[in-house]
Amino acid sequence: MSTTALGRAAASGKLTAVVLFLPPALLLFTLFVILPVGEAAWYSGFNWNGFGRPTNWIGFTNYEYVFEARAFGLALRNNFLIIVISLGIQLPLALTLAILLAEKFRGAVALRMLFFLPYVLAEVATGLIFSFVYDGDYGLLAGVWRFFGAEPPHLLASTQTSMLAILIVVVWKYFGFHMMLFIAALQGQDQHLVEAARIDGASRWQVLRHITIPLLYPTIRLSVFFAVVGSLQLFDLVMPLTRGGPADSSQTMVSFLYSHGVTRMRIGYGSAIGVILFVICVTFAVTYKRWFMRDD
């Protein structure tokens, strides 16, 4: 850069802007996002309780322990189940409701808001509300069972049903978010195509099948992405419901990381779990974007 160019840049404050405006973001981001990820990889090679400096290098042993843990296998299975339910039940439900509610009729807006409300509520509050719903003595389900004269089940206290109970809450909490994404996309769609097809004699179903839904593909791909990423980090909802129990039956990767790494201050072991989660998230995000979201 010539001196005049430098002078001009300085006069317009270009340099000042860069030097003044970037560092705060750069510093915070590096210090609290990027460095900790690198440190997780480093700490995961140690047996360390967090005091002093890590000195007891044990190589990949922490990873071996993680993969040998029965609870981690269950956590992986559960995260997978959450993804399956999110994609198999939640998204079709959200899509159906979006198509019904994108039309204008009395009550449509109120219903949209009602369905979106669970997404705004905190996971912890949602979890507590449903631990009441499922409570075997005082809960709503118990009320229904008792009405039919049956002995109320304790869904959350059984290894057979704890995960099922959580999956229902996952659907309850998040379908409204995906529905809103779809409604926003539907309202942005060009109605001329639909009208033209209707004039040409296409049935409602044909229009839906061949025009409306194909136009939604970019949104559906996005929605799938968010559903998977969200499923991988599910934690807040699990804590008030089951804390991952009973007998680790409803553990997720993050709840496993919390109960086996954080609460016992096993920094190395917990970091290894974090690194595994990191690799899964990044691999998924990068592959998915490369394969499915190239053109969006």
Binding site: G13, A17, L31, P36, V37, W172, G274
Partner: protein, 282 residues
Amino acid sequence: MTDMAASRPPFDRAALYRWLFLLLVAGFVAVPLIATLLGGFKSLGDLRTNPFGLPREWEWSNYGDILLSKRYWQMLWNSFVISSLTTIITLIVAAMAAFVFAHLRFFGSRMLLNYFTMGLLFPAATAILPLFIKVRDLGLLDTYFGVVLPQVAFALAMSILLFRRFFRDLPHELLEAALVDGCSYPRFFRFVTLPLSTPILATVGTITFVHSWNSYLLPLVMLNSDAMYPWPLGIMVYQGEFTADWHLILAFITLTILPTFLLFVLAQKHIVAGLTVGAVKG
């Protein structure tokens, strides 16, 4: 509902099924919420025999006692401070960085932007233990900033992208004219960009505030005294103390989600736009 049916042919089966389906889903969503609200007005015995119906006697004291307790207001205050600080710092820091990325080209600017987008790829949970060590070594454990700064850092990636896109779409002639008139970049940012950016500030502010208000894992790891707990932690402590007193817990839940609910009703457009626009640019 009824006049809709009247304006249609009398046997519109599709419409009937549609309404049945919608009402079924509405019930699935609303019943747990309404039962929670009403449950807070019941006595424990009433709750057990009559979980769905209206309270036989309205126990206003369940709610009253909580509203008069210090802990309720303390934890709402903690949440309010943490969320406000997080939102304000995120808005300032992210807008400044996004301004540079939107208007200034310099060696490595593209690379730096990509560096920030890496933050979208993984959740804070992956690095929660090193974060804990870092916050501890900085002496910020059990302080508001021990929660606020990591939250800001994790909110930056999305916020910078949203701001940058908005800033780039502002009319370019404005900046050129201002530069010719001798206005500097920082002054332009302060007196032109920011005043024109209220919609995106509101959107990013809403996302950040709601996420921070509801967040659980970071405060759980960084805070260890009850007096500092934001409400999602406080409510878990409360539930631990009153395990079987569901009527009290339900009243407490209702009162803690009340601020979110009010905010949602008052600013639903912003909240819906905020939470979904954040998603649209992934």
